[in-house]
């Protein structure tokens, strides 16, 4: 990882130049150091990860990146809530994460704030949604408490008849102060918090955090540890894809799919518990490696389980593919065309379903994937059917990878000791979770965490959902939403 300081005039031109040669924005965040506030951005470049910094030297505004990278908009608004920094001449001054829980003058991520302050009711902030005017246009507000068992968020639909003209999401409901909480935990303990940023991506977030810490401490991960982490990450991908495939079939009216996939998922989670001690493998990734080693009989079992599951998945795929009623709901629903996906900076699974070959497991050299030759799954249609298809392909590919890992795991330690550096140190972690690229930026000082920014790919993909649902009918929203399955908690932090 390369850390680079930029001047204010260069902030946007630098981004533009990167975008022109195929670079992508990965995350945007702010930090306060002894020198003052610093704006940071992580970019994916053909040469790898780049960490760009803009020291603000007392200024409270910064140049707008949204014209270059669309999804920067909301992250920039979040900076206002958390650190009092705003875009120069901002057009949209609505707060994003603060719904009135803390006063506007309070900056939770500032060094002066303890994070434990409690505020008397500041009143619910009025949030003006963008209005669509016209004959017969009306609004449907949904949430924050939804009808199903899902995370809270608010969706405002502007519709005419049953057609969606516009969807505007309002998120931030589950903001619980995770980034500040990081600074109160010891670096060797905080992987547990990272593993609770988004329960469905506990392995990915914990790995990204640990990778950042190992980067900062200059620790080389033993090969066996990387393979064990790979096993866990692929198991997490399979578990989530199984859950989503069942839910998608169910949302399109085929309850049979939910029953079948949910039983497979239950078997899978029970096995994770037996092998890694936890149904989601929470706290299985620890600083310096993996919490526990896996004995040869268990590796053998995992390989056999994987083969059996692959057969089941293939037979279910044949059924789903051949079901005319189901395909009728899947095809052309919630379409995100490749050009739009590129313009919006979509990432992960959703990007691959819209024709973009982005997968860190193939694009970047990191253990264990550099020696596994992952076959990337892509589709061009960008509809629900494409996202279903990518999930099927990835499930089978993950099962193949699990088989390969179990066949020839390197010998040696599963964990090494990690010394937290005493001085100032920086590190970054970047992992392809099941939803997309999970990123973590870490700053250490005096053996403690000064700042930890955890980034979930849902930031990139939430705005894309708003576009994908346009011109679809309202009753298709749950299906389209599920086909993206974005995280609220991972986004709200």
């Amino acid at each position: 990882m390369k850390r680079e300081r930029l001047r204010r005039e260069a902030w946007v031109t630098h981004a533009r130049a990167l975008a022109a040669r195929g670079g992508r924005l990965v995350a945007l965040w702010g930090t306060e150091r002894a020198e003052g506030r610093v704006l940071c951005a992580a970019y994916a470049t053909p040469e790898g990860l780049q960490w760009a910094e803009l020291p603000l030297a007392g200024e409270a505004t910064f140049p707008d990146l949204a014209p270059v990278f669309h999804f920067a908009g909301r992250m920039q608004r979040a900076l206002g809530d958390l650190l009092g920094l705003t875009v120069e001449n901002a057009a949209d001054r609505r707060p994003w994460l603060n719904h009135g829980a803390w006063p506007a003058a309070y900056q939770p991520l500032a060094r002066a704030a303890s994070g434990r302050e409690a505020f008397a009711d500041c009143g619910v902030i009025d949030y003006p949604f963008v209005r669509v005017e016209g004959d017969g246009v009306h609004e449907i507000p949904v949430g924050p408490v939804h009808a199903g068992i899902i995370e809270p968020g608010h969706f405002r639909f502007s519709i005419v008849g049953e057609k969606v003209l516009r969807l505007e999401a309002r998120l931030g409901y589950v903001h619980k102060g995770i980034e500040k909480r990081f600074t109160q935990l010891a670096p060797l303990e905080a992987h547990r918090l990272a593993g609770r940023i988004s329960g469905d991506s506990t392995v990915a977030h914990a790995w990204a955090y640990c990778m950042a810490l190992e980067d900062a401490a200059g620790v080389e991960l033993p090969p066996r540890a990387a393979w064990l982490r790979g096993l866990m990450l692929e198991r997490e991908r399979v578990a989530n894809h199984l859950g989503d495939l069942g839910a998608l079939a169910n949302d399109a009216g085929l309850a049979f799919g939910l029953t079948q996939f949910s039983r497979l998922r239950e078997d899978w989670q029970r096995a994770s518990r037996e092998i890694f001690g936890h149904r989601f493998m929470m706290d299985g990734v620890v600083p310096g490696g993996a919490a526990a080693d896996v004995a040869p009989p268990m590796l053998e079992r995992m390989r056999a389980d994987g083969e059996r599951l692959a057969k089941e998945v293939k037979s279910l795929r044949a059924i789903l593919d051949g079901h005319a009623g189901l395909q009728d709901r899947f095809l052309s629903a919630g379409r995100l065309r490749p050009e739009l996906a590129a313009r919006l900076g979509v990432t992960g699974l959703a990007a691959r379903a819209s024709g973009h070959a982005i997968d860190l497991r193939c694009d970047q050299a990191w253990a264990p994937y550099e020696s596994l030759e992952v076959r990337m799954a892509t589709q061009r249609n960008g509809d629900v059917a494409a996202r279903v298809s990518v999930r099927f392909d990835e499930t089978l590919e993950s099962l193949r990878l699990i088989g390969e890992i179990c066949d020839k795991p390197p010998r040696g330690e599963h964990r090494v000791e990690l010394q937290v550096p005493a001085g100032e140190a920086y590190g970054a972690g970047w992992v392809e979770g099941w939803r997309g690229e999970v990123f973590c930026a870490l700053e250490l000082e005096g053996g403690a965490i000064r700042r930890c920014h955890a980034h979930d790919p849902s930031w990139q993909n939430w705005p894309a959902l708003e576009h994908a649902v346009m011109d679809n009918i309202v009753p298709d929203f749950p299906l389209i939403n599920k086909s993206f399955n974005l995280s609220y908690s991972g986004h709200d932090l």
């Binding site: 434990r116 505020f119 408490v145 931030g172 409901y173 589950v174 909480r181 079948q260 079901h323």
Partner: protein
């Protein structure tokens, strides 16, 4: 269609059966006792008040064929107005405080509340802060709490039973 029927037949019934009470696996025993106490269906409204979503995944699992919650007349409903019981997860975020209170108000009697997960029980790893109110009981009255991070489905089922026993 044929293939679907074939697959269903081959999969068989995974839910542990309810007859022969003494030899039953725990899932079936719990279901049986809940049914015995309530003598009717139980409607649950789940509210995520700030969780990491881990608890929700395990609550979802209650509906898989192994735990088969709906098969025993315990079902998740779409509105608090239809619910006997609120199943609440997460440390309550300040941004969800009002929504949770309103959901509670909208729930008719007996208005039972089951807090699920370490976060719901005591704030968990997130604790109390400028953005988090901590445990569910800090915001609405809680009748029963199920610890665990996240609690596995069988523990949540035990929690529902614990709550049902109190209704006796």
């Amino acid at each position: 269609m044929q293939r679907i029927v074939w697959k269903i037949l081959r999969t068989g019934i995974l839910t542990e059966p309810v007859y022969n009470l003494d030899k039953l696996p725990e899932v079936a025993r719990i279901h049986h006792e809940i049914l015995h106490i309530l003598g009717r269906a139980l409607c649950i409204r789940q509210v995520d008040a700030g969780s990491c979503n881990g608890c929700e995944l395990e609550i979802h699992a209650l509906n898989n064929p192994y735990y088969n919650l709906e098969g025993y007349g315990i079902k998740f409903v779409a509105s608090p107005r239809h619910a006997d019981l609120l199943m609440v997860t997460g440390p309550v975020s300040h941004n969800m405080e009002v929504a949770l209170k309103r959901t509670y108000e909208a729930t008719p009697d007996p208005k039972l509340v089951l807090a699920v997960g370490d976060c719901g029980c005591d704030g968990g790893i997130f604790g109390e802060s400028y953005a988090s109110c901590g445990r569910v009981a800090n915001v609405i009255p809680v009748d029963f709490a199920v610890p665990g991070c996240p609690p596995p489905p069988i523990d949540i089922l035990r929690g529902v039973l614990g709550l049902a026993r109190r209704m006796k």
